[in-house]
Amino acid sequence: MDEKLLLDLKDLVVHYVTDSGTVYAVNGISLKLNQRHSVGLVGETGAGKTTTALAILNLVPEPAGVIKNGTIHVDGNNVLTMSEGELQKIRGKDVSMIFQDPMTALNPVFTVGEQIAESIRIHEKVSDKEAMRRAVEMLEIVGISASRANDYPHQLSGGMKQRVVIAIALACHAKLLIADEPTTALDVTIQAQVLELIRSYREKYDTAMILITHDLGIVAETCDEVAVMYAGNIVEYGTLEDVFNRTKHPYTEGLFNSLPNIIERRSKLTPIPGMVPDPTSLPEGCIFADRCSYATDACRRTAQEDKWLSDTHMVRCSRYQEPNFNVKRKIER
């Protein structure tokens, strides 16, 4: 562990205060990420993954979104206490974000070349010509020929647009890349290409990454660590090995069991019963108790705490301590 700590997120609490009640989006999560490492944030829709990502850029949509508590240090500086001017300097330069839907993340009235050049010009004092030259270079890095630089977003296919979005995010060689479901809007073959692109780029520039996804397969391929999120909490955290092979949390188990089985193709999917709790009124005890087949009365009464099994493996469930307790994984890897 001689690598430098790049991101240190502590006790982050984010609420959305609306007229119809307070949405408890993120409830005290902590996350550390070293240089060059990548962590996968996994969880269902509404688990608070994107909110966490936006908080790292201090971009939680205002006025509804309120960061109630926590510190987020990027490269030693607390993002949450920075002035707007300082934030603008690190956004895109130190921390960059790839958005989920390439169809809407590009401005329809400018050519893709101009849009990449714009994000270079924001951070570096270069001439328009130089910025454009580098934009074209970025396009080539992401595998789009230079001649398409003068195309408008609507002239590109979905996969190409996502490459452009990535080119914009990478244009200033950020140290930390936040990829918010970068492949959700793409078909499977393009997904593989895009992931490969991100991977080779990260190798070249030593970029750390937070990958937000609900696809465990992608996490297995691209991440070093995994954080499983549920209702604004990280319920299990660890290295790939820890979470995939020594699964401890019943929710993680549920996620794995709801994957299709390649070997036994006729076997039915086992979904997690029930629904994600209403984020405006979370249950008192363990947040997952209502859907958990292992839940006891004690689970429903008292909230769970982070329990560290090893230096790397954390689980927010008390039952693993009991002898003979094991979650039931359907497929043995």
Binding site: A105, E118, I122, Q155
Partner: protein, 292 residues
């Protein structure tokens, strides 16, 4: 193939597409041609016709003549050639139409964009002022402005311009509110763009189409408003040949000498119609739902 691709790319920017759609629209093209002719005529008239001898000089001996080769549209009660006066008067209508709309577009859009982008209290203040402004009748406002600044072309432009500020503010605000929540705005923020950069390079270009449609449409109504105010004697002062003013003078002679009302009326109609045709064309060309 490569050459062909390049050529295709050139036209397929948003504005290229709009121009292509616009050209396909026959009515809009007719409107454009007619409006161009009106502009050319208005400019030529300023250089060719002499204001003192041909436009305002009284020749009572030639009063109220019917159309003839010497006086194409006949003469008015003071013996002035109606054809020349209409040609010369064209620039008033065009100037008022264009300047008034420019005033209201700029002022209205800036207010609307600020309201839409900033939201909150600022939005409320701006939009409530617009609400207060919009029900004031055109004529009343024009009288006030004419009283304050004196009866002149400038005060007429301001009066007509101020009247349509609220509608521009509303259109701009609505456009900005749709653009504001787009993901590319958030993406630009995540890249470290400042608020000003976002407004200038993302919000404004993307909110422009509806504002432009509104501007084109408003030119026609500005011309009508200007004529109406001149008709009531609040616009361009006599003896200047403003079309509305000419109509007003001619109405006393409507039963004996129809030329005096007929031709200025036709001039207003043709100009307004051509602008409206252009406006419809612009609207259709920019409406993505009508894309074939």
């Amino acid at each position: 193939m490569a050459g062909k691709m390049k050529l295709k790319n050139k036209d397929s920017s948003f504005w290229g597409e709009v121009a292509k759609e616009f050209k396909k629209n026959k009515g809009a093209m007719i409107g454009l041609v007619v409006f161009s002719l009106v502009i050319i005529a208005a400019i030529l008239a300023l250089f060719v016709l002499d204001y003192k001898t041909q436009i305002t000089k009284l020749k009572l001996a030639e009063a109220l003549q019917p159309a003839s080769w010497k006086h194409l549209f006949g003469t008015d009660q003071f013996g002035r050639d109606i054809f020349y006066r209409i040609l010369y008067g064209a620039h008033y209508s065009l100037l008022i139409g264009v300047c008034a709309v420019t005033i209201s577009t700029v002022v209205g859009s800036v207010l609307g964009i600020l309201a839409g982008y900033l939201g909150g209290i600022i939005e409320n203040i701006i939009m409530r002022i617009m609400d207060i402004l919009s029900p004031i009748p055109t004529v009343l406002l024009a009288i006030t402005i004419a009283a304050a600044f004196g009866q002149s072309l400038t005060s007429l432009m301001i009066a007509v311009g101020v009247i349509s500020v609220p509608s521009f503010a509303r259109v701009a605000r609505a456009a900005v509110m749709t653009v504001r929540d787009q993901e590319y705005i958030e993406a630009a923020k995540s890249q470290g763009a400042s608020e000003l950069q976002i407004i200038v390079s993302h919000v404004i270009p993307n909110s422009l189409p509806p504002i432009m449609v509104q501007a084109t449409m408003r030119v026609a109504s500005a011309i009508i408003s200007a004529s109406a105010l001149s008709f009531l004697g609040l616009g361009v002062p006599a003896p200047n040949p403003e079309w509305g003013g000419m109509l007003s003078e001619g109405r006393n002679f409507i039963s004996t000498n129809t030329n005096m009302t007929f031709f200025p009326g036709i001039a207003i109609m043709i100009t307004v119609l051509s602008v409206n045709l252009i406006g419809d064309g612009v609207r259709d060309a920019m409406d993505p739902r009508l894309k074939r």
